[in-house]
Amino acid sequence: MARLAAILKALWRAFQRGEKSFASLAGNNFFLVAVLFLGKAGSFLFLIMGLVILFPLSTDPLRKIPASRLALWPLERRERWLLRAISPWVNPMTWAIAALALWAARGSVTVGLWALAAGLFAAGFALSELPLLAGAAMWRRVPHFPGPLDQLVRKNLREMLSTLDFYCALLLSASVGIYRLLGRGLPAEADLAMTVLVVVALSSYAQCLFGLDGAGGWSRYRLLPLRGWQILAAKDAAFLMVVAVLAAPLAPLAGMGAALVALAMGRRPAVEDPRPQTRWRFSAGTSPVYGIVEVMAMASAASAIYLTSALLLAPCVAAWAGSLWWYGRRLETQG
């Protein structure tokens, strides 16, 4: 048992040090918006919020120990079983789900709500067990693009598709599509609101465009004979393509305006404070205040374009181009 206790102690320490999920949530724009509109939200938004909150928190602590190291340790079969059974309790979310089960048993919360939370937790837990590395076979089919930045754009697209932000936005966009397929019309204002929500779900990623490149990627950018604006443009191209596809059934021009604002405003933290991100988690922006200001600017731009004139896309393009030029230079001079 001493061996097991030593491993669990190390696991607890590693989990505490490495656990950034709470911090990542605090800086995620969609989470901020969901919290702000909590009182007015319908069950659908609650469900998505549940996903947003529970997925990042539902990690398997045992993943903190490299599988090869775990296999090499001289543990008995019984000790391995015990480790498997006890280690999930290192994650505070396991205790929360257990507490919810107790409340459900006493009738304080419905069994359905507990089942939903437990299901989301189990899904997140299982997902964190899967070897969803960069380089899954599904990413091979990313299309090619013209020009010398082809491979960089493809890489950036793959990176974006391995964040949960994309799938949250996809869920929102697809839900509107399904709603329409069922023959139900949406009021025009709903198109705008859903477009803003879709771009908000993606916008935290604009604050950490280099978060999945790692130290090696960062070195390569500095070695390639590319200007800073070209490196940023390859990032932006992937981001704008995703927005264009997801906003297409909603309000595409408003979506592009909001996306350009998100990129322009996200530039400073993306370039000057590059924060490492984790795959299959929500992107963590720089701070809640920054996120709220960004969301307000995006919503204003989208509303202005949607409700007045498409010409208002021009200032968004100008702001984006200005940020591209300025932070492209900053990128080149970083030592």
């Binding site: 960069a134 380089g135 990413w139 020009g147 130290a215 090696g216 990627g217 070195s219 070695l223």
Partner: protein, 247 residues
């Protein structure tokens, strides 16, 4: 071809590289040796523009590195310490990216890519994402990326570590061929036998300072003996429990 004057890098109070002066002629292979943490990788980073020096200057292929960073990047090939690979690109895609970015046409990029994949035994893993590659494959990919644009100077940070003996031999042959054709090579290594075999110039660094710099032929004794004498001698502490019967 490669020249640095009073090259210095400080991190607060700590000086990682201290007033380094070094010249490597065109077509030379300079092997830069030193223990872990001596300042080798910091030097390579400063020579290649990955890190700004705190003081001093670097001239590579006649270009001042600080004044012409973009022009210089087109002339050099680098295998950095962290290999500089993207997890989300395959081995082949890394090479195609390099060709496109360095201005090679599509056909030439594909031709050189195929040749390098074949030469470095990377063909079987050409569609493997870097994240899923072994360390040796990653190193070979980064080495191939350094060669593909046909640079005038090569900077390689520990190129032979963690590659198989056959590939190591091939890499040495490629470097010697390039050097014979006028390419300047600057590399760091901990494998003294390989270093002794290919070096035309040997420099040794200890605690950020150059302690030896000469043509390889002017070493007073074998490279290994000279390294142990000048840089660090291997002192093995007696660990009385090692190999004793378990209690």
């Amino acid at each position: 071809m490669i020249s640095c004057r009073n090259l210095t890098r400080r991190y607060g109070e700590f000086t990682a590289v201290d007033s380094l002066n070094l010249e490597v002629d065109a077509g030379g292979i300079c092997v830069f040796l030193g223990p872990n943490g001596a300042g080798k990788s910091t030097t390579v980073k400063m020579l290649t523009g990955l890190l700004a020096p705190s003081a001093g200057s670097v001239v590579v292929c006649g270009l001042d590195a600080a004044a012409n960073p973009q022009k210089l990047k087109r002339l050099i090939g680098v295998l950095p310490e962290d290999l500089g690979l993207f997890d989300d690109l395959t081995v082949e895609e890394h090479l195609l990216l390099t060709g496109a970015v360095y201005g090679l046409d599509r056909a030439e990029t594909h031709r050189r890519t195929s040749q390098l994949l074949h030469t470095l035994s990377l063909e079987h893993g050409r569609h493997t994402f870097a994240a899923a590659c072994s360390h040796g494959m990653r190193k070979k990919t980064s080495f191939a990326m350094a060669l593909l644009p046909n640079p005038r100077a090569l900077f390689l940070d520990e190129p032979f570590e963690s590659v198989d003996p056959v590939t190591s031999r091939i890499m040495r042959d490629l470097l010697q061929t390039a050097a014979r054709r006028g390419v300047t090579v600057f590399l760091t290594s901990h494998i003294l036998s390989v270093a002794a075999e290919i070096a035309t110039q040997v420099a040794m660094i200890r605690k950020g300072k150059i302690v030896w710099n000469s043509p390889a032929g002017e070493l007073p004794q074998s490279l290994e003996a000279h390294y142990f004498e000048l840089v660090e001698s291997p002192v093995v502490e007696e660990l009385e429990w090692l190999g004793s019967p378990p209690s």
